[in-house]
């Protein structure tokens, strides 16, 4: 809630205007029945047509004022709510960019996305509702009640009793209804996850002829959902009609008390009846709005979680921009993920000279990717230091650091837009020749030329229309275009066949002669030609040296070699 008011504060003037018009609108609505009663009591009973017309014109004028106010109010409310939503989204987006991967891991990317889309929409609905109904409903309600009481004080106690009953009913609805709807949501999630599971395992289901078992699962979750829904709807079936019954009772009682009324008061009676319906209308609105409010409070909490997330990495105060050459030094580095209790890297010490190539090999989960993530400061070492050209990466200005490093991640991520747009991520100002050059090195030029529009071919979201190998090669080309001082290839050739992989790697070595190249792989053939090889297991260095040195000295390396290539290591 605080979040919402913080944003409203920024637009307080428009908000105030909107409230003003809203009040005018409500007042106009409220005056109608009174004028009506005047027409009846003074005009009709006194047989005064001119009076009827006079009041009628006033009534019409007020209706116009009401309409005008409503239009203005709508204009302000729409503008404010949409603008606030825009601002929240935009602030969120900027905030996410200041977060480090540790924060993002914690919040989960999928959850950040829903917060930026669904939750913001929820808040926007609330603000919009706040500015059009939420304030109007109480004004109308209170106004109607006050008018009834002022004009016919006798009716005050009945109104009070009815209001108390209605409030109790609304509260009852909330108390019994909400938990039921919570259950519905849970059951819906259950059905969703059953479907998701089925869809992603459809091959297995079919291969094992397990359709019956799947159906049984579905029957169960679908039935549970139907039951939960029925129960929730039945709570409403009890309360909603009870609320209108109560108000209707109020009308009867009003008529009952008024039966002894003199005939001059008949207009007032009509107005009272009319006001009662306005009260009912207001009350229904309020109970609806409570519903929206509860949901948007939950949403604004979730949004606030992002805003309150403190960036896990501190920006160095006197960060320096240096001219990076590419010598990388790990000095007794250990690293532990925030959620984990064990170290992912322990006491890693090694150095890569600028312009040389290092291969990193080890089983999955051994810490290879974690290690290279420390170089562009995606994560910070828990202890020890990572240095580039003998400067601690934590003190290098972030852009300067990341501009010098090109990383091709394991999972190639492309963005919607043309192939060229995607490659230009590496260098905004690259010429067509340069783009073509790197595409050729990455062995993807021929593929690009075979597509309908060549380099201008549009890719779907995340490059959905490409195969794994094509995506990997494009993301290599993108990285090369950056002309990095440090090039990190994180197992990014796994979807290429051995021959293409070899051509690509040779091309890279040729292209990035001066750059420090780090190649992570599980395939020994990919790393064995490197100047040196780092063999990692369980977050510890098992060996560091050339291929032949490691074959002699490192048991882990030898095992990997035997398992992949077979035979005696010295036999070939």
């Amino acid at each position: 809630m605080k979040l919402i008011f913080r944003y409203i504060q920024k637009h307080i003037l428009i908000f105030a205007f909107s409230m003003l018009f809203l009040t005018m609108e409500a007042v106009a609505d409220l005056l109608q029945p009174t004028l009506m009663s005047m027409i009846v009591d003074n005009g009709i009973t006194n047989a005064d047509i001119s009076l009827i017309i006079k009041y009628g014109i006033i009534m019409l004028l007020i209706a116009f004022v009401g309409a005008f106010s409503a239009i203005m109010r709508n204009k302000f409310a729409s503008t404010t709510s949409q603008t606030i939503a825009k601002e929240i989204r935009s602030d969120l987006y900027a905030k996410v960019h200041t977060l480090s991967f540790e924060n993002i891991d914690k919040l989960h990317p999928a959850s950040i996305i829903t917060r930026m889309t669904n939750d913001v929409t929820q808040v926007q609905e609330f603000i919009n509702g706040l500015m059009r109904i939420m304030v109007k409903a109480p004004i109308t309600c209170i106004g109607a009640i006050v008018l009834i009481i002022i004009r016919t004080p006798k009716q005050a106690p009945i109104i009070a009793i009815i209001l108390v009953i209605v409030s109790i009913l609304i509260l009852g609805n909330i108390k019994f209804g909400y938990p039921k709807f919570g259950i519905v949501q849970k059951k819906l999630d259950g059905l969703n996850s059953t479907s998701r599971e089925f869809l992603s395992s459809v091959r297995v289901v079919k291969a094992f002829s397990a359709e019956d078992a799947e159906e049984a699962k579905f029957v169960e979750s679908s039935q549970e959902l139907a039951l939960a829904n029925t129960e929730a709807l039945r709570v409403m079936a009890v309360f909603a009609p009870l609320i209108s019954l109560t108000v209707n009772f109020g009308i009867i009682i009003l008529l009952w008390i008024s039966k002894s009324q003199s005939s001059e008061q008949i207009g007032k009676l009509m107005a009272s009846v009319n006001y009662m319906t306005q009260v009912l209308f207001g009350v229904t609105m309020i109970s609806n709005m409570i519903n929206v409010a509860v949901r948007s409070i939950a949403s604004s909490k979730r949004i606030n979680e992002i805003f309150n997330e403190k960036p896990a990495q501190v920006k160095a105060e006197n960060a320096q921009a240096i001219d990076i050459h590419g010598t990388i030094t790990f000095d007794n580095v250990s690293f532990k993920y925030a959620k984990s209790s064990i170290e992912s890297l322990s006491n890693i010490t090694f150095e890569v000279k600028s312009g040389s190539t290092i291969g990193i090999i080890g089983p999955t989960g051994s810490g290879k990717s974690t290690l290279i993530n420390l170089i562009p400061r995606f994560y910070d070492a828990t202890s020890g230091k990572v240095l580039i050209d003998n400067v601690d990466v934590n003190t290098i200005e972030e852009h300067c650091l990341r501009n010098a490093i090109s990383l091709v991640p394991q999972k190639s991520l492309l963005f919607s837009g043309s192939i060229k747009d995607n490659l230009l991520w590496g260098d905004e100002n690259a010429t067509d020749e340069e783009i073509e050059h790197v595409a050729k090195i990455a062995c993807v030029h021929d593929f690009i030329m075979s597509t309908s529009d060549g380099y201008n071919t549009l890719l779907g979201q995340g490059g959905v229309n490409l195969s794994g190998g094509q995506k990997q090669r494009l993301s290599i080309a993108r990285a090369l275009l950056k002309k990095p001082k440090i090039l990190i290839l994180d197992d990014c050739t796994s979807a290429l066949d051995s021959k293409t992989e070899k051509t690509v790697l040779e091309g890279i070595r040729e292209y990035a002669k001066d750059a420090t190249v780090i190649i992570i792989s599980q395939r020994i053939s990919t790393v064995m030609k490197s100047d040196s090889i780092l063999c990692i297991d369980n977050g510890e260095i098992q060996g560091h040296g050339t291929h032949n040195e490691l074959l002699d000295s490192c048991a882990t390396y030898r095992n990997i070699y035997i398992s992949q290539i077979g035979g005696e290591p010295n036999g070939k």
Binding site: R89, T117, R196, A240, L242, I405
Partner: protein
């Protein structure tokens, strides 16, 4: 008269429905779909008759209560005893309340039953669809059929149907009452309705475009968010934060602008309708006042009755347009569901289909060709004869057709031409179930389910004993890590196995294939995404499992398949080379080339 506002608040059930001005998706065949939907509900309609009856009663009370309120006011005005009228009003209100409660109560059950029934129909159908369907459709799309579209049918059709009924009867009833009370005043209110109708038409014809535009902009923005956040590693790695923010702001601004326009424009409707209503109200007051004074009628309560009626009369007209739009969107959703139901199922078993039991494992591909799309040959005149007990390895570049061979053998897809036989009979001659049970399959993506380790191993074999499960796990080498889990075989894999390593998951899927005791084993890239140490373990499990059985192994890494009896090298849907490892090395062709590149010799 309180009926005006006592329809159940529309967003109380926690599901947002498209409101005024939302984009309406028009169904292609409204009538046909409705009839079909009606037929689908056969056997679950108990209660629908009650709902119809109750909505007629609801409209009756809606018609009578203003009449009685007016009557009461007239009587009070004349100083006559009002008790009887008030009593009947009381009865009307109470019966209205009973009616509503009952109607909603019945509806809650009936509708949910129908929904469950439709959903299960869709699911049963989905389970029978061939794999090609799932390969062609996005999962998200199918999910939204199962949940969103069905929900839409449930909330919208059930609500709007009963409202439409009620409004329909209300409008007719009130119209009759008004005409019988005073035709002239009725004419005035009809003029008002026509005016409102024209106004609504005028405004919605303009807002429709704006809302559509907003939808497009919203899609673009959400797409950008999804891409930007899930690809944040790359965004940061390439220092693209500012650029992304800039693009985001553009899309965000655009959305904001169109939203404001759409909302402002559509916001004209309600106030202007109100003005028209008020003018109507006034005209009736003036006319009826004049009439009363001229003694056209003596019943002052008539004015009240009329004023109450006109409100109730106008309201449904505005509402019906909205309800109809929602209704159309829901029917369009139903159409999408029927689209799935109309898909071709997997071919049914032939009439005299035989059960394939204890297959020996002789397999032959005779001139098999296959295309996923027309003129897009994946397998081209492919012939192969395999004796029972042979271990066949298939290698070749991506897209060469390796997995297709397996897909045809298991009848995930059917051949375009040619035939495949097992033990001398064509695949089509066997029942689908017995055929698939003949294969023990391990796939590249190890799909585990969110249940216990035990259940996952016994997947598809519900009657497997615990001993059999443990035996299978031991054979595949999975038992050592399972025993280290907190609850061993009863450990619940809440995240569908994500809590295990890739290799551990794969070992469970291998155990799953072991327990099937299938005569023919298929391993499709079972080791390509695990590290070499795990690969060794899996390889050992494979050797155990494949002993004496016909088996197919597809692998990227040649080390995995060196010991196979026959190695097939496939390229562009044809067998290029075929033989044992040593033979192929001697041949010094493509396989030898590949092997040497992988071992780093060249």
């Amino acid at each position: 008269m309180a009926n005006n506002y006592s329809t159940p608040p529309s967003n109380m059930n926690g599901i947002q429905r498209p409101g005024r001005g939302m984009v309406v998706v028009k169904p292609k065949n409204l009538k046909g779909t409705l009839i079909r939907l009606w037929k689908t509900t056969a056997g679950h309609r108990k209660g629908l008759g009650w709902i119809l009856l109750l909505s007629i009663l609801a409209s009756a009370t809606a018609i009578l209560s203003p009449f009685l309120s007016g009557k009461a006011i007239t009587l009070i005005n004349n100083g006559d005893p009002v008790n009887i009228v008030l009593l009947s009003l009381l009865i009307i209100y109470i019966s209205e309340w009973l009616n509503k409660t009952l109607q909603q109560f019945i509806m809650a059950k009936t509708c949910q039953n129908i929904i469950h029934h439709i959903r299960m129909g869709l699911i049963q159908k989905t389970l029978k669809l061939p794999l090609s369907f799932f390969d062609k459709h996005q999962h998200g799309e199918l999910m939204s059929r199962l949940t969103n579209d069905i929900d839409n049918i449930s909330t919208t059709i059930s609500n709007s149907l009963s409202l439409l009924f009620t409004y329909f009867f209300t409008i007719i009833g009130i119209f009759i009452m008004m005409v019988s009370l005073n035709p002239l005043l009725t004419l005035v209110s009809i003029v008002g309705i026509v005016a409102i109708f024209i106004l609504t038409k005028f405004i919605t014809s303009r807002t429709k475009k704006l809302f559509k535009e907003r939808q497009v902009n919203l899609g673009a923005l959400n797409g950008h968010i999804e891409e930007g956040i899930s690809g944040i590693t790359v965004v940061k790695a390439f220092s693209r934060e500012e650029k992304m923010q800039q693009e985001f702001e553009e899309k965000n601004d655009k959305l904001c602008k169109t939203s404001i326009d759409a909302l402002i424009y559509s916001g004209y409707l309600m106030p202007l309708t109100n003005v028209i209503n008020n003018i109507c109200f006034l005209l009736i007051a003036v006319f009826s006042g004049i009439m009363y004074l001229n003694n056209v009628f003596e019943d002052i309560g008539l004015i009240t009755t009329f004023l109450l009626y006109i409100r109730q009369f106008n309201r449904p007209f505005v509402e019906i347009a909205n309800i109809y739009n929602n209704f159309q969107t829901a029917v369009a959703g139903a159409e999408r569901i029927f689209e799935i139901i109309d898909q071709d199922e997997e071919p049914a078993d032939a009439k005299n289909a035989i059960k394939l039991e204890n297959a020996k494992g002789d397999i032959e591909f005779k001139n098999v060709s296959f295309e996923y799309k027309k003129d897009y040959l994946i397998l081209d005149d492919f012939s192969l004869k395999i004796k029972a007990g042979t271990q066949v390895a298939i290698v070749g570049p991506t897209g060469s057709g390796k997995t297709t061979i397996i897909n045809l053998l298991t009848r995930f897809y059917d051949v375009t031409s040619g035939e495949i036989t097992i033990d001398g009979h064509k695949l089509e001659e066997y029942t689908m179930k017995s055929l698939r049970e003949t294969f023990g399959v391990v796939l590249q993506d190890s799909s585990l389910f969110a249940s216990t380790v035990k259940d996952n191993i016994a997947y598809g074999h519900d009657n497997a004993t615990f001993e059999e499960i443990v035996e299978a796990a031991e054979l595949s080498g999975a038992d050592s890590f399972i025993n280290r889990l907190e609850n061993k075989y009863d450990t619940l894999l809440e995240q569908g196995g994500l809590e295990l390593s890739q290799g551990e998951r794969q070992l469970i899927t291998i155990s799953r294939a072991v327990i099937a005791k299938a005569p023919i084993i298929i391993l499709d890239e079972a080791t390509s995404s695990v590290d070499t140490v795990t690969e060794q373990k899996i390889k050992r499990a494979m050797v155990n499992m494949c002993k004496g059985k016909t088996s197919f192994i597809i692998a990227h890494r040649l080390a995995t398949i060196r010991d196979s009896d026959i190695i097939l090298f496939i390229e562009k849907g044809k067998i290029i080379e075929q033989g044992s490892h040593d033979e192929l090395i001697k041949l010094n062709g493509k396989y030898a080339q590949l092997y040497l590149t992988q071992t780093g010799a060249i």
